[in-house]
């Protein structure tokens, strides 16, 4: 069975998981990855990857500025704010 390091992956995804969740996901995702394994045997030599469903290029916007919506609407949903800025608990670097 494919091993997935749930602890490491959850850390990358900034997800706190309970011990139960970790065990559950570990088992389920192991099975799912096993099922995904069929992909590895497919011959894809000479094939270009598809990243977009439509082959568009150069979808560009002229450099014209429109006034922003300002701090009010920007922060209307903020859990905490002060002085027109989002307040977050201390950032430890």
């Amino acid at each position: 069975m494919e091993h997935i390091d749930i602890g490491y992956t959850a850390k990358l995804a900034r997800l706190e998981l309970s011990k139960d969740e970790q065990e559950l996901y570990s088992a389920q995702l192991g099975r799912i990855l096993e099922y995904f394994h069929v992909l590895s045997s497919v011959d894809t030599s000479g094939v270009e990857p598809t990243a977009h469903a439509n082959p568009l290029h150069n979808v560009l916007r002229e450099d014209v500025a429109v006034p922003g919506f300002g701090a009010g609407p920007a922060l209307a949903n903020a859990p905490q704010q002060r002085e027109d800025q989002v307040l977050v608990p201390r950032v430890i670097e």
Binding site: L12, R14, A51, H52, L56, H57, N58, V59, L60, R61, E62, D63, V64, A65, V66, P67, G68, F69, G70, A71, A74, L75, R82, E83, D84, Q85, V86, L87, V88, P89, R90, V91, E93
Partner: protein
Amino acid sequence: MASVDGYDAVIGLEVHVQLGTESKMFTDAPYYFGASPNELTNPVVMGMPGTLPVLNKRAIEKTIQVGLMLGCEIPQVSKWDRKHYYYPDMPKNYQISQYDQPLCLGGSVEIELDGPSRNVMGEHRRVSLTRIHLEEDVGKLTHVADGSLVDYNRAGAPLIEIVTEPDIFSPEEAFAFLTSLRNTLQNAGISDCDMEKGQMRCDANVSVKPVGTTKLGTKVELKNLNSISGVRNGLRYEIDRQIRELKAGATIVQQTRRWDAEAGVTSLMRTKEEAQDYRYFPDPDLMPVRISEDWKSQLAEGLPELPFDRQRRYMADYSLPYTVTSVLCSNRQLSVFFEEAIRQHNNPLAIANLITNDLLRELGAASSGSEVEDGERRSLDSLGVSAVGVADLVAMVDKGVLSNQMAKEVLSGMIATGQSAEAVAEAKGLRQSSDSGEIEAICRQAMEENPKAVQEFLAGNEKSINAIKGRVMKATQGKANPTLVDQVLRKLLASG
């Protein structure tokens, strides 16, 4: 290569430069420095659910222009990728950047190393670039007692990242690189590159190795280098630190360190184990860009001459001294001003001297206290003197209407009043007298009042003419054209 204590340093730089566009990279919100907090936001900037990015054409064009100026290869297709990491200043917790298909590959920046003395041109060489890519800037965090405040005004501003090869070998070369890069970008109107406003930011990778060895040492990444001299000072400290460590028998651990300009030291931020896994993948919301030859040549047409090319041309075509050209060519505005002035009056040396000495002194006085090293001079326009005005002033000197001393006074008057050289000279009554009849009369009087000097001159003492000249100048309050006075006196003396 500048060896220190038997070690050589190897440096690579990552320079971020904000492109001076009207709107942000992926949305039409405006970007400029100094707006009130979160004023320059919209749903896209805030990374709100359901919003989508759209590419800013001008930002792409400016990036391609940078690449063209620096001799980069511009690939036919370039694409956008998401780079994931969590930080409160990044609204989507991924940065839209370019991973494996950036807009520019390779290229180089010409730098000038320190010469044997200040007025002799130093050696030039090219520092190789790895790539230049286009991405979005993040917001700004301010730490307060009970947390951090986030302002997203800067978030989404177009940012290019210029990555060098490990092709820089001393803090001084890093300084020269950034100076040259800044001049080049400012010169082309790509960015103002004001490091104090965060328009140009630099991270450095630095390692040391014993002289004569080829294997690179373990590199340390330096952050928070907030000025060009900060880069130099931070690197100097860090290179010394690494050498000290190695000499003490320690090994260098791969890590990221922060430069503290005030304390003058670097300190540990994080080690390699905490390095991040960015999980790059192509942004499905953005389509690739195809760059045709036509588009490229159209963009190339809009590019100015590079600063070093211009400097060489000034030295060759106008026989200007190196020191004067290095000032003139450090700033696009100065050279444009200079070229406009010499089109009006063809005396490059006098005009160049006037700009680099007098005008810049006036500008320095007007913006005293600001650090000139980072190029943040006040704009020439602020003096209110036009290139044509300067040309007219020099022309008046050349015609003998004004003496050099008078010209300085007239220039001050032009700056103070905004009037033309002619009008200021008129108002101040500054005008060399070139009326030979009048001068002849004064000269005759001066000779009469100074018979001793006349006799001595006639006896062969060349210098004694100066005493008579002095009297003439005194009598005319300095307004007589000295050349004319000399001619008239000699004529009168010869005729007895």
